[in-house]
Amino acid sequence: MARDLRTNAPVPAPRMSVHVEDELLEKLRAGEDSVFAEIVRAWSPVMMRVARFHVSTEASAEEVVQETWLAVIRGLDAFEGRSTVRTWVFRILTNLAKTRGVREARTVPMATLSSGDEADGVVDPDRFRGPDDEWPGHWTSTGAPTSWPTPESSVLGAEVRDRVAAALSVLPERQRVVVTLRDVHGLDSDEVCSALQISPANQRVLLHRGRAQVRAQLEDYYRGREREPQP
């Protein structure tokens, strides 16, 4: 479960459907504040991420998310319910964040950002057998991945989490944003494509390369542990 950095309180993953959609709209319109509080809590983390992609600072992203929720409160009666509440909220968010990004001159179209997706394969080619081998393109005996130990202690779990967070932070920006929205926040590919305005094929490539690098970091971590002398 994700946690709020500041309070360390568990943050419900946004993939969790808070309510059946039609009920959700009905309850919000009826003024049920606990339902509103629940979606603010559940959706704000991923909204911060999407906003942060378009604007230049965390503080700015936070303001955009707050503005979005205020627009939601004001717009509830006018909302025609042609999309889900969540899609509607994200559309407001994306519009506000983009407008603000332009004002802040953070006009970085996805296409001009370093994507880090020009390299050939996601795994070191030396780990595969050469063209003259009986089984070209297959794992070498030392190159083949081996299964990882199951995390047996919470200490190890925390170490792994740190390692994953570090691996994520050094990814090229486009990969980092896509992997974060998909795997940390649990958006689906359609939601990511529309929030970032990229094509599904592009989204898949960025996800593929980003995940592969995080996996490689974890593999290094587990291999390092194997080499450590066990007490």
């Binding site: 504040d33 707050q66 409160i73 994953v164």
Partner: protein
Amino acid sequence: MTERDKPVLSIDCRGVVELVTDYLEGGLPPQLTAEVEAHLALCDGCQSYLEQMRRTIDELGRVPVETLSPEAQQELVATFRTFRGVQRS
């Protein structure tokens, strides 16, 4: 050449590694899905790779996230009450 005459492993490990994301996304055409699965059934290395990728995705879901401060959230809920009328049951 009939289906039966084709080599057992039509995709090599290098190829499987590059198809893993599409495979997990369910985005591969049925024929290719079948070929990836046939490969996986015979290849420990690729099975481990796929398993590691699932673990990676799992671990990514546990990375801490930033959100609005509790004060900002409370303020929004207060605004909601003001605008939408307080509902007390």
